[in-house]
């Protein structure tokens, strides 16, 4: 099967209307579902498509700078997609293999959340990607924080960066999402650790349909961040806003944050023995067992001597 679906805002709206609302309505009242989708409504408000780009993130930053320099506001929700990235880069400037056949997206959002909520931005694209991949590949799982793997082989990687507008002072959240779809040839160093839809399903998939499903689910998961922020503030009263320490406590103690709860359901990280490091490939720090995931999504690790370390950023490699 070749590329058959046109990726457009209208197609994503149609998916939300015809599929997503019904799917979410199995777990939440319709009124809640519609509210969450309204909060996430900015996602994919505009879509730019390219055959080839050097880097989606770099292109998004250049567009933001261009808008800022000309005194125009840059509205959130823009999606940049390319069939191929020629200079894809991940964390620590690692080479990001992004040939034709894969799904390579950059999503730009304007950060309108409070710090306690915006710390969870990184979870939303991971949850959305895992939910999307699960529709075709039931073995897909989330690895902390937002990698999606199938039996230990990575099928989706996510990069999240922040950029501050030089003129407006707005904080922009840039989500870089890469999914191996119809690409099946990987560099030798990735051949054992990466996998694609095509390899797992023994056939080509509609990349644009997967992109549209992902963006529909991203709208839900970004909407959840806003919905939960409002819910928690409503439960604890507006006074909590004037007390940053209390506000942080309220979010940390909110064990039932819907996005974190969903992340837990999709992840197989809990209980695993892992190697941890900020840059775990080049500078691993220690090995431990994952004891818990806190409600702020930080990782609780138990070292061999029984002591506990809590990490709110970094990478893990599964050891068992």
């Amino acid at each position: 099967m070749g590329i058959t679906t046109t990726l457009s805002a209208a197609r994503i709206e149609q998916l939300i209307r015809e599929d997503e609302i019904n799917y979410r309505n199995r777990s939440f009242p319709l009124e809640t579902v519609l509210t969450v989708f309204r909060y996430g409504g900015a996602v994919a408000a505009d879509i730019l498509r390219f055959d080839k780009l050097e880097r989606g993130m770099a292109h998004a930053k250049a567009l933001i700078r261009e808008h800022e320099d000309s005194g125009r506001a840059f509205s959130g929700g823009l999606v940049i997609t390319a069939n191929e990235l020629t200079g894809g880069r991940g964390r620590f400037n690692r080479f990001w293999h992004a040939p034709a056949g894969g799904l390579w997206l950059t999503v730009v959002l304007v950060n309108t959340l409070m710090p306690a909520s915006s710390a969870l931005y990184s979870l939303a694209p991971g949850v959305a990607a895992c939910e999307t991949i699960l529709e075709d590949i039931p073995a897909a799982r989330l690895k902390w924080i937002n990698d999606v793997h199938v039996a230990g082989r990575k099928i989706c990687g996510i990069l999240v960066e922040t950029m501050r507008g030089a003129v407006s002072g707005e904080e922009y959240i840039l989500l870089g999402i890469g999914v191996n779809v119809n690409n099946e040839k990987f560099p030798r160093e990735l051949s054992e650790s990466a996998v694609s839809y095509k390899q797992l399903l023994a056939g080509e998939c509609d990349v644009n349909l997967i992109a549209a499903r992902f963006l529909a689910k991203l709208a839900w998961n970004i909407g959840l961040l806003h919905y939960e922020e409002n819910r928690i503030l409503a439960e604890h009263g507006p006074g909590v806003l004037s007390d940053p320490a209390r506000l942080s406590e309220v979010f940390t103690d909110s064990a039932d944050h819907l996005l974190v709860k969903r992340w837990r359901e999709l992840s197989d990280t809990l209980g695993r023995r892992v190697r941890f490091g900020h840059n775990v490939q080049e500078q691993p720090r220690f090995e431990a067992r994952v004891k818990d995931i806190n409600s702020d999504a930080s990782l609780v690790l138990e070292l061999d001597d029984g002591s506990i370390v809590t990490e709110n950023s970094g990478e893990i490699v599964y050891l068992d």
């Binding site: 990184s122 937002n146 999240v160 002591s307 950023s313």
Partner: protein, 217 residues
């Protein structure tokens, strides 16, 4: 006027010699009912371990909504003040409840004096910080004190939940003299990350260090 003329080193050094302690105030982290675990005169330890994974001495337990939370000492020293009149009572957030008298090391005394002449660049949020790739490569190549930064330079990458945020330097141009953070460890909001030294102040800094070391031998 030269900066050195503005600083009375004899007075600063006498002050440190007369009272070589830092007095660390501990405030309640949130509202709740408090149970102290130390008393005036108690010796306490700070966080330790290779990964800073061993918590310090438990100072108090704060109980809110049947959720008891132990709070540990951030540093070593002796309890010099405690609001024991609040034992078992309800406390507000951010109330001063304990003071720890922390004995300063020579290194901390030098850092303390240098902070009066260095420009501190502080952490904007509680997160992990790393020098930006450009700054790190210059440090690796030339050494930290040969790296000059000016306003607008991308100095750090702030990492929180695998979200990377570039942090741009604002302040006096100068070299990176003192480094107060370790890559991979969380830094609290407002804590200094580096101390920047204008190039013409470097000889003064070196004289301070030499003098403090000599005075404390």
């Amino acid at each position: 006027m030269h900066q050195e003329d503005n600083i009375d080193f004899d007075e600063i050094i006498s002050k440190y010699k007369a009272d070589p302690y830092d007095y660390v105030d501990i405030h309640s982290i949130h509202t709740g009912r408090i149970r102290f675990q130390v008393e005036v005169g108690s010796q306490v330890e700070g966080v330790s371990g290779e990964w800073r994974h061993i918590p310090g001495t438990t100072l108090y337990i704060l109980n809110r909504e049947r959720n008891p939370k132990p709070v540990h000492s951030p540093t070593n020293g002796e309890i010099s003040f405690i609001r024991d009149d609040l034992e078992g009572q309800f406390v507000e957030a951010a109330e001063k409840i304990i003071t720890i008298k922390h004995p300063l090391t020579k290194r901390e005394i030098i850092d303390g004096i240098l902070r009066e002449v260095l420009y501190p660049f502080v952490a904007p949020e509680r997160a992990k910080y790393f020098f930006s790739m450009d700054i790190q490569s210059r440090i690796d190549r030339y050494g930290q004190r040969e790296v000059f930064v000016k306003p607008g330079d991308e100095l750090f990458t702030m990492s929180l939940m695998k979200r990377e945020t570039p942090i741009y330097y604002e302040g006096e141009p100068g070299i990176i003299h003192s480094n107060y953070f370790k890559p991979g460890e969380s830094v609290d909001q407002g804590q200094p990350l580096v101390g920047i030294c204008p190039k013409n102040t470097l000889p003064l800094i070196q004289r301070i260090i030499t003098r403090v070391k000599a005075e404390w031998e």
